[in-house]
Symmetry: C2
Subunit: 211 residues, 2 copies
């Protein structure tokens, strides 16, 4: 808020457009934890809640962590072109509600969506001017430990996720920025992301998001 | 320092190259004050001391604020191709010593040079991959007040500087970033510049500086 006020007095006619920030990374890297910490930090962003058909985990709240919806409802939304992007990840559907993104950007709010790598790749095709941030594990070994500690995966699933992560890291070139997430220092990742947003808002040539 | 350590463990072969940051802006905008505050903040940057033939002001220290040298020495350095960039600004010569920039970058240090708008334009031609930051006054009216308070200008000089500033602001398109400097809130400008550097160090595709 403070920032936009101090920018609006520039002696030049320079439009400040809202940004769309796409936060992505391999499964287990800590996208949800980083997002939660971003929210807590009070940074003025609109966060888009992802839709999913996967079962709610006990710690999760509906319409805050995800919109938990049925597979039927999900298919209906695909048919009605209501999703900006959708993907099937490990047997469950995930999607980004287009209308919510559009509404946030129309308000002039910087907006963040959290998606997996496939999702980021899809959004890149539609909105190449969004800001693509790849959340990176400190190492594959630490990612393995992290997934193991989560206790939600069978050994076979764990191997699959790690193999997928390796393949996903090869798609890094689709992204604008890479931020390392250490799980004991999430604040470092949050501060890097905030710096990226500040820098992008300082660009002489603003990105043109049209949705 | 901390940053490079945490980046070096990326599970991908991604070279981190030192950045060359070119800080510029119209006369009176507060380039020196922002630079001084950057140094105080302890941010790990190599700062290149500019050469000048103008007389030292009482508050200035030789080889810290500027290298104060004679006009003859300056001409000799031009002849020997020892300057990355040089310009005559309001009757005095200013130049950037090429060897110091090269030495800093060769050490792998992010490096900042402070130049006027002409200087930035010249460096842009040689090193387009440097990061160009335009320090912007909050308004022309505030720039006028600021220059007046400095008591170093005659009224005619003041008008000339303001006219020049207006022309210089039209060269904004040569720059990557614009940062507003309010003189009562220099820390805001410093924190924007730090954010820009952090973001640039997070780019997936690093800038290639070759000098």
């Amino acid at each position: 808020m403070k920032k936009s006020a101090h920018r609006s007095q520039l002696p030049i006619n320079r439009p400040i457009r809202p940004l769309l920030i796409v936060l992505s990374g391999p499964s287990g890297v800590g996208k949800d934890a980083v997002l939660a910490r971003m929210k807590e930090s009070g940074y003025p962003l609109e966060y888009i809640v992802t839709l999913t058909t996967r079962p709610r985990r006990p710690s999760e709240r509906n319409s805050i962590d995800y919109h938990f919806i049925s597979a039927d409802k999900f298919q209906e939304m695909i048919k009605n072109n209501e999703l900006l992007e959708w993907a099937n990840v490990y047997g469950n559907w995930y999607g980004v509600p287009k209308e919510e993104v559009k509404r946030a950007l129309d308000k002039g709010q910087d907006t963040m969506v959290k998606v997996d790598i496939q999702g980021a790749a899809s959004i890149k095709k539609i909105l190449p001017q969004a800001i693509f941030i790849f959340l990176m594990p400190p190492s594959m070994e630490e990612l393995r430990l992290r997934l193991k500690q989560r206790h939600t995966e069978s050994p076979a699933n764990l191997d699959l996720r790690l193999k997928t992560a390796e393949a996903e890291i090869k798609q890094l070139y689709l992204f604008d920025y890479v931020v390392v997430n250490r799980w004991d220092k999430i604040d470092l990742a949050v501060s890097d992301i905030r710096a990226i947003i500040t820098a992008e808002k300082s660009r002489v040539t603003p990105r043109q998001i049209a949705l």
